[in-house]
């Protein structure tokens, strides 16, 4: 089976070129354009860890139907440099188009890997820039115009959004950009070959928002009433700091870019002592520096939320790529034993939901809650129905913020393990929130009995947590030929692949662990009990979720799919894997292939 042609319901566009030329920004203009026009979009930006040069790409999926992830296939490739063609030609679907500047590379010099089915759309990007008297960066806008022109899609929407985008600049700028876009649009119309079908703006579609995972997390935290966000930048968590900083003053959040991650989490603990909802987010390296304080939060029973957005390690690793290899680290980080909750959002909607729920859990349990994501969640945009703000609740657990108390005991022993929390500032609330083992008041204690009582009290909260945390989520038919287990962002390409497989009549179901700790032993047990064939998908080499299942459920996994090259799982890969498991490997001829599925055309 060879790569399928673009088909009616979906178009996939890739823009490729060196870093620092506004590829991502341009791509997102396009994404917003189609989102506003009622389409579902999903974009994936891939870039190396440097500021200029290198090879960046922006891949945009536009579809009428619901989509869950990126795909490898590309229908329209915008090559802002010659290298891009060679690197991505294999992904092009039958009849796919390449938009390029003959000034960069002559059509005859394009490396098409022998493909003769492709449509070449030469656009003199640089020349047009000069024609409209613009600057080099405008090549992007021209290319966007060309994409629309080639697709025979009206250019007005683009013109509009450019005008609003440059509203704050002198009108001349906006008009130059619009002129550039239109010029590109018209140039593309002259292309020798036409785009095989037409997209048109859709009407009466429900309104949507386009956001990335970090924005979703930030919105969840904001909705939850976060009062302080403290962080030190680290890819891919960095933009949470930017979003928070942007809304700090208008939303009343103290946002602190700290000297290091040690300060960030210890500041969170101090703010939590004062009763403020607080969060810090980082990646593995910064989380390593937070480990000791994570234990401090555990023993001092401090309500904090920690975002751990992972990337490939060890150490500095591959900063801008993705991996799921910190699962076990998150579960076992810090000396000693204390309760913790670890939530793993599978997509952007869940990122919002689990973020605000994390703050409730932290307050209800008075212990650290970790939100475990990765670069695939942080860096990429989805069109989603606006997060359900109405569903957000604030439950601060047992908390007294003002007034007066008598004979207060911060660490009073209770059946749930959670003690009434009275803030400093309350008259009579003398207490020591302590990093040492301590007695009910908070004073350091070393006698065997107090130690056991307090340690047991704290661990009791892990049992209490089981009734509060989100349960695993189940997708697909109750009985299926293949039953998939996974956590976190792998959910996205898996749901996409399941859609394709379902269309082929291959029955697959999936259990996604939204809470990875405390581990949902019961649910996994009954799911595996019922499964015919199990497939575990996780982005690490050592099988960390697999190990957890073995430990907690004493069960063996049937099949496994792991990935550690820093790239996210693609639905194509998962689709083929399922077929292989079922004994009929579908040999997709190229990475870029997508199946010709029922109703695909």
């Amino acid at each position: 089976m060879s790569p399928s042609a673009p088909y009616g319901k979906e178009v996939r566009i890739r823009i490729g070129g060196p870093a620092g030329f506004g590829i991502k920004a341009a791509g997102q203009t396009l994404a917003r354009l189609f989102a506003r026009a009622g389409y579902n979009t999903f974009d994936l930006t891939e870039y190396p860890s440097l500021i200029k040069g290198g090879h960046n790409t922006f891949h945009l999926r536009i579809s009428e139907e619901e989509i869950f992830s990126h795909v490898m296939a590309t229908d329209v490739l915008v090559a802002l440099d010659a290298a891009t063609v060679g690197l991505h030609v294999a992904e092009l679907t039958r009849g796919g188009a390449i938009i390029f500047d003959p000034g960069d590379v002559a059509a005859t010099d394009l490396d098409l890997a022998g493909r003769d089915d492709l449509c070449l759309v030469p656009i003199p990007l640089t020349d047009i820039v000069y024609e409209v008297g613009g600057i080099k960066i405008m090549r992007n806008v021209i290319a966007l115009g060309a994409v629309l022109g080639h697709m025979d899609y009206p250019v007005e929407g683009l013109a509009e959004s450019l005008r609003s985008q440059f509203a704050h600049k002198p009108p001349k700028i906006a008009e130059q950009n619009v002129a550039a876009a239109i010029a590109g649009w018209e140039a593309a119309r002259e292309a020798p070959c036409a785009f095989p079908f037409h997209l048109a703006p859709r009407v009466d579609q429900p309104s949507t928002v386009v956001l990335d995972g970090n924005e979703a997390l930030s919105l969840g935290a904001l909705a939850a009433g976060i009062g302080m966000y403290a962080a030190y930048p680290m890819t891919p968590a960095t933009s949470v700091l930017h979003v928070m900083a942007k809304h700090a003053d208008s939303s009343g959040v103290v946002v602190k870019h700290t000297e290091d991650e040690l300060a960030a989490i210890n500041m969170c603990i101090g703010a939590a002592f004062g009763g403020t909802r607080t969060m810090c987010a980082t990646s593995g390296g910064g989380f390593s520096l937070m480990v000791e304080a994570l234990g401090f939060a555990g023993v001092s029973e401090s309500a904090i939320v920690v975002g751990l957005l992972t990337r490939p390690g060890p150490a500095t690793g591959l900063p801008t790529w993705t991996e799921q290899s910190d699962l076990r680290f998150a579960i076992h980080a810090a000396q000693g034993e204390f309760p913790r909750v670890i939530l793993a959002p599978g997509d952007h909607a869940e990122a919002f939901e689990l973020a605000w729920k994390a703050f409730n859990l932290a307050d209800q349990l008075q212990t650290p809650v970790i939100i475990l994501g990765d670069s695939y969640l942080s860096d990429n945009h989805q069109t989603i129905t606006p997060p359900d703000v109405g569903a957000v609740t604030v439950d601060r657990g047992q908390l007294q913020t003002t007034g007066e108390v008598e004979n207060y005991e911060r660490y009073a022993v209770t059946p749930s393990g959670v003690s009434p929390r009275v803030l400093p500032g309350v008259i009579g609330a003398q207490q020591i929130v302590n990093s040492y083992e301590h007695d009910a008041h908070g004073w350091a204690a070393e006698d065997a009995e107090t130690r056991v009582v307090q340690n047991t009290k704290r661990l009791k909260k892990e049992r209490t947590a089981r009734d509060l945390v989100p349960a695993p989520r189940f997708y697909g038919p109750p009985d299926a030929a293949v039953s998939i287990l996974l956590f976190g962002t792998t959910k996205m390409p898996t749901l996409e692949a399941m859609k394709w497989l379902e269309a082929e009549g291959v029955s697959v179901n999936m259990m996604q662990l939204t809470t990875v700790w405390p581990f949902p032993t019961q649910e996994v047990n009954s799911y595996m009990e019922r499964a015919t064939r199990t497939l575990l998908i996780e982005g690490n080499a050592t099988g960390q979720l697999e190990g957890l299942i073995r430990e907690q459920c004493l069960r063996e996994i049937g099949h496994r799919l792991n990935r550690t090259d820093g790239r996210p799982f693609s639905p194509e890969q998962i689709y083929s894997t399922v077929h292989c498991i079922l004994g009929a490997c579908v040999n997709l001829t190229t990475a870029g292939a997508v199946p010709d599925i029922e109703g695909g055309r």
């Binding site: 928002v209 976060i226 103290v254 603990i269 101090g270 009763g275 606006p386 003398q430 040492y436």
Partner: protein, 294 residues
């Protein structure tokens, strides 16, 4: 308004008899009483060390933080609770060793907190290793050949980063120390009181009598507290090696430098004007932010 004795907790101090921490404990209780601070109007954050054991002996609404990490939680508490004054008690190993980075960055932030350093020039609780302020060439169990480093100069460092109140006290002079505390606690902005706190068990060199031979009061000499550069020069006289005689190694006590009216970090943060918990009484309305994203 609590009296001095009301700041005494139910736990009897476990410091070694004669420890300099007793004097610092007493001076702080007196300063708090003199200022008339109610127990719900301030919080104290301790680091880990003998100094930190003091967390059990003062009856307050406080926090016993990690070793070397007393400043970040203290600064955050101040930043999110404008209704609370915040005092930090840190050790020399704790605050100037492990915690050095936080120290420098908190100073340059001019966080409105008061930092009291229990500077006994030794690691007390871990039985007598060299601390960052141990005198040059002094032998300790971790440096039998003598410390090769220059001692940390906390006052010079603070001055280099724009500190607005820098003082030095001596645990052997409680009335004078109380005065310094009162001034530091009343100062708006970051205030440091580095206190010579003899460790009678492990530091046999910098003893009470060693200090008594060397300390003198800046006030008495009509010291000008407004000259940062002169204060820096004075801080260098804090560098002394084992051999230097009492008359050479003078140890100035008092306020080295003071600057009023410098905006604090808290002043610059709009969200820091109300208690952080007040933002979480109900879900925050994010509709305007969402609107920009569609």
């Amino acid at each position: 308004m609590p009296e001095v004795k009301e700041f005494v907790s139910a736990i009897k101090p476990t410091w070694c008899p004669g420890c300099g921490n007793f004097g610092m404990w007493e001076a702080l209780k007196r300063a708090l009483a003199e200022l008339g601070w109610e127990k719900h109007e301030f919080s104290v954050v301790w680091g880990i060390g003998c100094h930190g054991n003091g967390a059990d002996f003062l009856d307050v609404q406080g926090m016993h933080a990690l070793h070397g990490r007393s400043l970040p939680p203290a600064a955050a508490l101040r930043l999110t609770r404008p209704d609370l004054q915040v005092v930090v008690e840190m050790g020399d190993g704790d605050g100037y060793g492990l915690g050095m980075g936080h120290f420098i960055h908190t100073v340059r932030r001019n966080s409105d907190i008061t930092v009291i350093a229990h500077n006994n020039q030794i690691y007390g609780l871990t039985v007598g290793q060299a601390s960052p302020t141990t005198d040059h060439l002094m032998p300790t169990v971790s440096t039998p050949g003598g410390v090769l480093e220059q001692p940390v100069n906390p006052i010079g460092l603070a001055l280099a980063e724009g500190a607005t109140f820098v003082a030095r006290g001596f645990a052997g002079d409680i009335p004078h120390l109380t005065e310094l505390y009162v001034r530091a606690l009343s100062h708006k902005g970051f205030s440091l009181v580095d206190v010579f706190q003899p460790c009678v068990t492990w530091n046999k060199h910098n003893t009470f009598s060693w200090f008594r031979e060397r300390v003198y009061k800046l006030e008495a000499e009509g010291w000008d507290t407004s000259d940062r550069v002169k204060a820096f020069e004075l801080s260098l006289s804090g560098f002394h090696d084992l051999t230097c005689a009492a008359d050479e190694c003078r140890a100035p006590l008092g306020v080295y430098f003071e600057e009023q009216g410098v905006p604090t970090y808290e002043d610059g943060v709009p969200a820091a004007q109300v208690p952080g918990w007040s933002h979480a009484s109900e879900p925050r309305d994010i509709s305007s932010i969402l609107a920009k994203m569609s």
